[in-house]
Amino acid sequence: MILAVAPLSDLLSFGNKGYLDELMWGAIATLEISFLGYAFGCFLGLLGAVGKLSGGSLVKNILGGYTTLFRAIPELVLIMLIYYAGTNGLNQLLISFGFEPIQINQLLAAVFVLGFVQGAYSTEVLRAAILAVPVGQVEAAKAYGMTSYQQFRRVVLPAMLPYAIPGLANLWLNITKDSALIAVIGSSELANVTRIAAGGSKLYLVFYLLAAVIYLVISMVSDQFFAWLERRVRRGQRKLA
């Protein structure tokens, strides 16, 4: 039997017949997962960087292990490990406390997994950026009698941003692309939605090209945004040459 394939104009439309609305929601889910994972990753990275710079030797060793492991193992392997281990572990915990096992929200699982991988990279980016802040500025802040939180919030944080933004911009571009890996464990983000649309319509080339273009637009818009952001955080700095 030959499958009746709808005309192209129908498949590339919004609504029941077409896949464009699905792709649009997929793109939104990709942005959502990336953004939340990125925020989580930056938070972990900030904790990690501060821990690596001023923690005790135990904290330093644990963080060293975390950043080395998570940067040496392929993202795909990590995502599967954390996803399966995380969902399984949580359910076993629930069962042992006498609760019913739950279906874990896929979006949250994806955010958690990507954020954890991202955290290892942003730890290193932020650590290097904090180290680039001239010691004299921190000493001056100390001399004013600022608490260590005030020193961080008022001096270290704004002074390190020019060094951190290029690295953080790269990490954002990476997470938007790494979020496609979530498709392997099944989810509703762009890569998986595209796979479903391509398989359903048999228009593989059209849909994968379309998805590529959507990712490309996300990347290019992000590039512009980070270029603007870098100009902004550098506004007080002396221009080179």
Binding site: A72, I73, L81, A85, L173, L205, A212
Partner: protein
């Protein structure tokens, strides 16, 4: 932890490791060779080539490798069966095999990232050295092969280890197009035995060891190449 399955699957894992290494080496070699002209035309080429190379790098760097791989394997691959007589031709065994699509996709990806790096490296070679080479009377080709390219390669050497480790970490994607690399072997073990974690942990350790060796090898290589600072 249950490792009883391990002895039975060692041949599969060794073959998987072999395929992973073949994917890595072939894509780094092919992509690395492609990166040289891609970087060069962006620095000196005529504008149509310049635009083309720039667009290629932007596309490769702006889209997920997974989508590029699926675009080639499912997208371009779906066009071939429509060509009459292709099933009988000598090309069919190649066009059917996910492995070759993976090599192509990974090579193009490495070429895109490394092409951008080479562009910077070509720009980073001091002007005076190129002028000196020209003043001696070298042809443009000789300037390239004797001065410009070797100096540019020396400049990218410190970043190359990281790029190759990155490439190694991309190879597991090949299992999504039916390649039985380490990741594919792991998938087979898991579906045969219903054991999830142990195979994943095992290949994670193997990838870490490979990463370690790549880093060490490049540290050694870098010390072999003299550099005055």
């Amino acid at each position: 932890m249950n490792w009883e399955w391990l002895p039975h699957y060692i041949p599969l894992l060794i073959h998987g490791l072999y395929l992973t290494l073949v994917l890595l080496v072939s894509s780094v070699v092919i992509g690395g060779i492609m990166a040289v002209p891609i970087g060069l035309v962006q620095v000196t080429g005529p504008w149509p080539l310049k635009v083309l190379a720039k667009a290629f790098c932007t596309f490769i760097r702006g889209t997920p490798l997974l989508i590029q791989l699926w675009l080639l394997y499912y997208g371009v691959g779906s066009l071939f069966p429509g060509i009459p007589g292709i099933r009988d031709s000598f090309l069919w065994p190649i066009l059917r095999e996910g492995f070759y699509y993976a090599v192509l996709a990974f090579s193009l990806s490495f070429a895109g990232y490394e092409g951008e790096v080479m562009r910077g490296a070509f720009l980073g070679v001091p002007r005076g050295e190129l002028e000196a080479a020209r003043a001696i009377g070298m042809s443009p080709w000789k300037v390239l092969t004797r001065v410009w390219l070797p100096r540019a390669v020396r400049l990218v050497l410190p970043t190359l280890a990281g790029e190759i480790v990155g490439q190694l970490k991309s190879t597991p994607l090949a299992f999504t197009v039916t390649v039985m690399d380490l990741m594919g072997a792991r998938a087979k073990i898991s579906s045969d035995t219903y054991i999830m974690y142990e195979p994943l942990i095992l290949i994670a350790v193997i990838y870490m060891i490979l990463t370690f060796f790549i880093t060490r090898a490049f540290n050694y290589l870098e010390r072999l190449v003299p550099q005055r600072r």
